[in-house]
């Protein structure tokens, strides 16, 4: 099926199999591999991207459902060679180790702050419960998000 999807500001006209998941479209057709696949049950959130500004696990959507949508992936977050404040906050607070969950975590966290710019620690923890990390124990991820919210 023919679809038109805007990814990080660039329009892509593609012909995809109806069963292609959005995450596979992003990785294999568009060629952006920053979005990772961590599971096959939509449990881990590693593949989170923004669809029309909202965080979505890109394994829960078919590519054809994204026809006409604006997608932002982790590659689209930094602007003009400058990391996004959330990316900086993760770096400054050691909010990542192996980095595999990180793109999804950062995309979920930026979406969280859009909805709730000054969350409590508990709100951050609940807001990120769809994204699994095995390295950090979440301590520094939560700290990173709170720091970003506070503008630190």
């Amino acid at each position: 099926m023919k679809i038109r999807v805007t990814v990080n500001g660039t329009v892509h006209d593609s012909d995809v199999e109806p069963r292609t998941l959005l995450v596979h479209y992003i990785r294999e057709v568009v060629g952006l591999t920053g979005t990772n696949v961590g599971c096959d049950t939509s449990s881990c959130g590693a593949c989170s991207v923004h669809v029309n500004g909202e965080a979505v696990k890109s394994c829960t959507m078919l590519a054809v459902q994204a026809d006409g949508c604006e997608i932002t992936t982790i590659e689209g977050l930094a602007q003009g060679g400058e990391m996004h404040p959330m990316q900086k906050a993760f770096m400054e607070n050691h909010g990542l180790q192996c980095g595999y969950c990180t793109p999804g975590m950062v995309m979920a966290a930026t979406s969280l702050l859009k909805e709730n710019p000054s969350p409590t620690e508990e709100e951050v923890r609940i807001g990120l419960e769809g994204n699994l990390c095995r390295c950090t124990g979440y301590h520094n991820i939560v700290k990173s998000v709170l720091a970003c919210a506070a503008g630190d």
């Binding site: 591999t33 961590g38 050691h94 180790q97 980095g99 595999y100 390295c135 950090t136 301590h139």
Partner: protein, 797 residues
């Protein structure tokens, strides 16, 4: 020994942000699955749906008819590709039983997930579609899922072995014959406990991924793999496939966590290489998460019997341990050695006389093979002794903290020769426990508990402690030899000063989230007097770093990091000779500080390293006979393990009606010696603690009686999310290791080791007034509720 520690405000010990992060944060980093390899064929596995079944036929015809499919193979079709079976590098006893294990099974499938056929296709989807069409006929046999049942040999899994028992390994240490029995006979107090270490699924967030790229006419082979052990994998792939080792190159690109699960040589790695050779094309495979739960090793899996004998004061007089360990269906790379890594630690951090009796019996089951999972044998051992210490304190009617203090190896006893003969390098358990108790407000919680845990209380609180030693820095090669391990424990490093005074470090460690690039650059910066950003760290490619023994067992800093420091010393020695020559001074009169050599007492007669580096490069004016360039290599075989230690204290609130456990506070005081980068140390502790806490409260690989994995996806296996776990309170003490020049010990596994016993001790403590004396892991609401119910019903009878 401690000159680096005492140096003020240096690079070492600073919270330098990680250089790895920008690439990982922006999507620029490439994991194996991200590599763009034109023309690659995709491998898909057909896996047994039965835990134990005879394979009677494999029909590949429907799979071969799928468009895009290039080939399909049964196990028998591939038999000619292997020079030998899959490797087990740790034959722990001479009579250890080790069934032949091939990448694709031929006669019998021995666990759900065992590979029975495979398909190669031009796309991953075609390969998977076709794999579903492979028609395998099975004759199911009885599964063996229970360890005690396995030991009975009621059903023998590998019939050629004639038994399910793989080995028995004994360690009995007595000052005089019969001392253990005598100690138990004479003891004022004894406890006899049975604990179950449930199987755990490691769940590194990046599933395994493999890509083998051949050069069909040159004969060279490059294997990209999401592995912790590129060097071990290179040797083992060469041996198993009969490839000359110098033609085999292994690269671990960015690797998304390991926790021991990528410390292995897996069927799919061997298959990709073998099929890439056969087809003269790249072959790649990406594991799905569901496959990961079935076909990547699992951790723990032990039944532990531990007995303590103590005198009237509670001083331990003997420890007896009987382990029954689950190997799973086959022995993977280091499967049999894992329970034995704990063999030396069942006396914990306590001053035990020569009265120690340990025996481990290991059995095969029809389940996924077990192997190293974060801590590997040491969390299990620490759990048993720390739970048993609480049981002993309960028996004696004294506070468990007090019992521990009576038994700690005291600071002045270090270096301490343990009853096992191992020498504990340095420690101060009392200081760590005191600091943890302060941070946890131990006395305050006890007071609150006395007020809150009254008969009929719905919510009750408990506080639990675990004090631990982590035997890490694996390992002195001769000690490994005495344990029958097939390799050494050294680590290699090269330090190379480039003409413009930028420094390249080549390390044999293979990081997968630990931040070695940052940490190693700090060590070099400190030693050489350059900025960390002027140091490049090369690793994880056997063509660039040909020598190394990789990353596991908290070994990278105390072995690999120390090797780098030693290589720096060699470079400085050479540079000093050049400086002396150039300055026309005696070497003995030179000192090196801040990257500059100067004549003592005459600071204006000085030469910076930058100038020497360029001189070494031009070689225009070097001392007679000196080789050009500034480069040194070191291979460091550590003289001892390192012994990080600490005390963790957990406070919980338990809902007696629902069984829900809430962690109110978690305090970890860890001592890993000198900290190179506290930011990274804290991160390691955070992650380790939550993994240990997850074993205590959430995780279990659940099998049914037929050997089906009931927790086969992340929808059923409870890896905790941020909302499931608490923030952590960390403290530390610093007791440098005297066995290496950096004073470092390692920190990768400490959190996992301390957490499970601290949490379960807290849960049992919360419920002790109801008569609960033990709690199975995970302490899920159901298990907690059942334990309360059993105790209170028992009391009412």
């Amino acid at each position: 020994m401690t000159d680096l520690q005492e140096r003020p405000a240096g690079v070492l010990g600073s919270r330098l942000l990680r250089r790895e992060d920008p690439a990982l944060l922006t999507g620029e980093a490439k994991y194996t699955n991200d590599l763009n390899v034109p023309g690659a064929l995709h491998l898909a596995m057909v896996r047994s749906p039965y835990a134990h079944a005879r394979i009677t036929s494999v029909d590949l015809s429907a799979a071969l008819a799928v468009p895009g499919v290039v080939a399909a193979y049964s196990g028998a079709d591939l038999a000619g590709l292997w020079a030998g079976p899959m490797p087990c590098a740790w034959p722990v006893t001479e009579d250890m039983k080790n069934p032949p294990h091939y990448p694709v099974a031929t006669g019998t499938a021995c666990y759900v997930g065992d590979g029975v056929a495979c398909v190669l296709a031009t796309s991953a989807t075609a390969a998977r579609d076709a794999a579903e069409l492979v028609d395998v006929q099975y004759e199911p046999m009885e599964a063996v899922v229970d360890l005690e049942d396995a030991l009975s040999d009621r059903v023998v899994i590998h019939t050629d072995l004639g038994t399910n028992k793989s080995y028995q390994w004994d360690l009995k240490i007595e000052g005089e014959p019969g001392q253990v029995d005598a100690a138990f006979a004479a003891a004022a107090y004894t406890v006899k406990e049975r604990y179950v270490q449930q199987r755990l699924i490691p769940v590194a967030m990046e599933p395994r991924a493999v890509c083998a790229v051949p050069q069909p006419f040159g004969g060279d082979m490059t294997l990209y793999s999401a592995t912790q052990v590129p060097h071990i994998l290179k040797v083992m792939t060469a041996l198993t496939l009969g490839i000359p080792e110098h033609q085999m190159r292994v690269v671990a690109p960015s690797v998304g966590g390991g926790f021991g699960s990528k410390l292995n040589v897996y069927a799919e790695e061997l298959l990709c290489v073998a099929l890439a050779r056969k087809h003269g094309a790249p072959v790649r495979w990406n594991e799905t998460r569901s496959e990961n739960h079935l076909a990547t090793i699992q951790g723990r899996g032990q039944i532990q019997h531990i007995e303590l004998a103590a005198d009237a004061d509670g001083k331990l007089t003997a420890v007896r341990v009987r382990l029954l360990a689950d190997m799973g269906a086959y022995l993977q790379l280091v499967t049999p050695g894992i329970p034995l890594l704990g063999a030396f630690l069942y006396a914990g951090v306590y001053d035990l006389p020569l009265a120690y009796d340990f025996s481990c019996t290991s059995v095969f089951t029809t389940l996924t093979p077990t192997d190293a999972y974060r801590g590997a044998g040491r969390p299990e051992a620490t759990y048993a002794i720390e739970r048993a210490m609480d049981a002993l304190a309960d028996t004696m009617g004294i506070d468990p903290m007090e019992l521990r203090r009576r038994n700690f190896i005291r600071k002045e006893q270090f270096p301490y020769t343990a009853m096992t003969g191992l020498v504990y390098d340095s420690g101060d358990h009392d200081a760590a426990a005191t600091k943890a108790a302060e941070l946890a407000d131990y006395d305050g919680v006890r007071a609150r508990q006395a007020a809150q845990n009254v008969p009929g209380a719905k919510k009750v609180i408990g506080i639990g402690q675990a004090s631990y030693f982590e035997m890490c820095g694996l390992a002195p090669s001769r000690v490994l030899a005495s344990l029958n391990y097939s390799a050494g424990g050294w680590e290699a490093a090269t330090v190379r000063v480039l003409p413009t005074n930028k420094i390249q470090v080549v390390t044999g460690t293979a990081p997968h989230g630990q931040g070695h690039e940052t940490a190693w650059s700090m060590i070099v910066a400190e030693k050489m007097g350059v900025a960390p950003e002027d140091v490049d760290v090369l690793h994880s490619d056997t063509a660039i770093a040909p020598l190394g023994l990789d990353t596991y067992g908290s070994r990278s800093l105390p072995v690999g990091g120390v090797a780098i420091a030693m290589a720096c010393d060699k470079v400085i020695d050479k540079a000093k000779k050049i400086a002396a020559h150039q300055l026309e001074a005696d070497e003995a009169d030179l000192e090196f500080a801040g990257g500059t050599f100067s004549v003592k007492g005459t600071p204006d007669r000085a030469l910076p390293l930058a100038a020497i580096a360029f001189e070494a490069f031009t070689a225009h004016n070097l001392p007679d006979g000196m080789e050009p360039n500034l480069e040194a290599h070191t291979t460091y075989d550590p003289p001892n393990f390192s012994w990080p230690f600490g005390t963790h204290i957990c406070t919980v609130e338990v809902d007696t009606e629902t069984g829900q456990v809430d962690v109110l506070q978690y305090v970890a005081v860890d001592d890993c010696g000198v900290q190179v980068n506290p930011l990274i140390v804290e991160g390691q502790v955070h992650g380790g603690v939550i993994q240990g806490l997850a074993q205590a409260l959430f995780e279990e690989a659940v099998y049914d009686d037929d050997g089906n994995l009931k927790s086969g996806t992340l929808a059923e296996y409870l890896v905790p999310a941020a909302s499931d776990v608490p923030s952590l309170t960390l403290g530390h003490t610093v007791t440098p290791s005297p066995t290496n020049q950096l004073g470092v010990k390692g920190i990768g596994e400490a959190g996992t080791i301390g957490a499970a016993p601290a949490v379960i001790n807290a849960v049992v403590d919360a419920l002790s007034h109801l008569g609960v004396r033990d709690m199975p892991m995970p302490a899920s609401p159901q298990n907690v509720w059942a334990a309360i119910n059993a105790a209170t019903q028992g009391a009412s009878k």
